[in-house]
């Protein structure tokens, strides 16, 4: 009886999939009606997608993207105004000044990861860099190397590139991770075969924030003569990266995760010993043939500025972000039970706190937290109601995987925002638990796992 009520409740709690409308930006603007009541004192209200909010939500989704640092914007603006030259133009000042700016940016990106500027290639983002790395390397060596290793918790674009390779006849090992999200080094070493061409392990996971033991992975790969690729989009500027010390052969970087602009990223390709890849883009041979297409000077300048700032501010930022993470976690734990942190707490980038709240339906929680911009996992998969594949790879139970929320803390997050987020989250979780038959049953001492669910 109680179980039937519970399942009815759960079905009701799952909101209908949002209707996606194709619309121009003008239509979007029209949809967003900003009602401004008369009188200055009255708070304005935002209304969008049927949600009414009394202000712009406090932003705790730094893994999806970060706000642009005003110092980055300041560096970019001149290249949108008078310095509009094509950096590949060789015959006039416009081209020369753009080229100089691009090269200065390249040096800044290189400095942040202890690389040579000649090893940095600008791309459209980490997704493109991951595609070039995985597919480009294997296609170049297709005659002798037939096998790729990637962890199960890689970003979608790495996994999808691997799937593509499988269709071309390559073999892929999707390496399981331990329950704390970290790679099992012995298992990794055992999985490497003579025809393995590439090992791809994400430096900092986008969903759970765990930091992989890059140095150890790099050492294993070096010993076995396999190229080590790491997706460092979430790691750049947040944890120290040294391509030499970590034995990295290929690395994907992104601009908009480090307070830079969207639409720009970089690929690190080792020169000594040289890592060779087949380019995906055919064209004018820019970026030394690795990535044809005009280099977007303003974006690249922004990414360079973001890297320079990250280098100066890394220590200051990480001290703050750690303190804010403690504040958030302690604040929630002090007032709620059944709170589980997904992924290792010790080997973790503190700006990413992925928490599951037992006996609460995740989507309902997110809908109730409309004043807090958070996500249940990665932005790429947040539209689906499927539990995250990353959490499943960790062995998180289905019910807990459904209740996860990722809090992303960054450079511009304030203590007051954290306190507000704690307050709103606790209030919402308590409210949902109050009307949850599951929580009631647990309080009565019924083991939920013993319930036989109908229609499942």
């Amino acid at each position: 009886m109680a179980a039937a009520a519970a399942s009815r409740f759960l079905r009701r709690a799952i909101p209908a999939a949002p209707i996606r409308r194709l619309s121009t930006s003008a239509a979007v603007a029209a949809e967003t009606s900003l009602s401004a009541p008369s009188g200055e004192d009255e708070a304005r209200v935002i209304e969008m997608k049927g949600v009414k909010i009394s202000g712009r939500p406090l932003y705790l989704d730094m893994q999806a993207t970060t706000p642009v640092d005003p110092r980055v914007l300041d560096a970019m603006i001149p290249f949108y105004l008078s310095r509009y030259g094509n950096p590949h133009s060789r015959t006039h000042l416009y081209g020369w000044e753009s080229e100089a700016a691009v090269e200065a940016a390249r040096a800044r990106v290189a400095a942040l990861v202890a690389a040579n500027p000649k090893e940095i290639f600008f791309t459209s983002g980490a997704t493109e860099s991951n595609n070039i790395s995985v597919k480009g390397l294997m296609r170049f060596h297709r005659a002798r190397k037939r096998h790729v290793i990637a962890t199960q918790t890689e970003h979608k674009c790495v996994l999808d590139s691997c799937r593509h390779l499988q269709q071309e006849g390559f073999e892929v090992t999707y390496l399981p991770v331990r329950p704390d999200g970290l790679v099992d080094l012995d298992l990794l070493a055992d999985s490497i075969r003579p025809d393995t061409g590439l090992v791809s392990v994400m430096a900092v996971n986008n969903e759970i924030g765990v930091v992989q033991p890059l140095e150890e992975i790099g050492r294993i790969c070096r010993e076995k003569g396999v190229v080590f690729h790491t997706d460092a989009a979430q790691a750049l500027g947040k944890i120290p990266i040294d391509v030499e010390k970590m034995g990295i052969g290929l690395m994907s970087l992104s601009g908009h995760k480090i307070y830079g602009p969207k639409g720009v990223g970089a690929l690190y390709v080792r020169r000594r010993p040289r890592v060779r890849i087949e380019p995906q883009m055919s064209g004018g041979g820019q970026e030394r043939g690795i990535r044809s297409g005009t280099v977007p000077t303003p974006l690249v300048v922004g990414m360079g500025a973001a890297c320079e700032i990250a280098m100066k501010e890394m220590e200051y930022d990480s001290r703050r972000v750690s303190a804010l993470q403690d504040r958030l976690l302690n604040g929630i734990r002090a007032r709620l039970d059944g709170v589980v942190v997904n992924g290792s707490l010790e080997h973790r980038y503190p700006g990413n706190l992925n928490i599951s709240f037992a006996y609460v339906e995740g989507e309902s929680l997110l809908m109730g937290l409309k004043e807090v911009a958070v996500s249940s996992g990665s932005a790429c998969t947040s539209a689906s109601l499927e539990p995250s594949y990353v959490l499943r790879a960790l062995g998180v139970d289905e019910d807990m995987a459904h209740t996860s929320i990722r809090f992303g803390i960054g450079r511009f997050t304030t203590e007051a925002e954290i306190d507000k987020a704690v307050e709103l989250t606790v209030r919402q979780v308590e409210k949902l638990r109050e009307m949850s038959p599951l929580y009631e049953m647990v309080k009565e001492g019924i083991d939920i796992k013993s319930i036989q669910w109908a229609q499942h």
Partner: protein
Amino acid sequence: MMAVASVPSRAEVLSLLRSLLQTARKFSDYNIREYAKRRTVDGFRENKELCDPSAIATAFADGTSQLELVKRQAAVYSLYAPSVKSVMEAKGF
């Protein structure tokens, strides 16, 4: 990096701090404004113990260029400020 200017006086340093804080307050964006104020105070605190004259001069020159930047960006932000503010600034919050 750049030609090191003469060592600033205590009054000049304090005046720079005051100007930075005053300009930071003009940011229309809640998060940027709070960051600019916080980073200014923390930056000056970090450099409080500097005694090497050239280091002091470099830090001062850096702060002066940051002031120019903050002035420019506070203006840019105000040009494009959204009509609805952060919930952190809304009343009753």
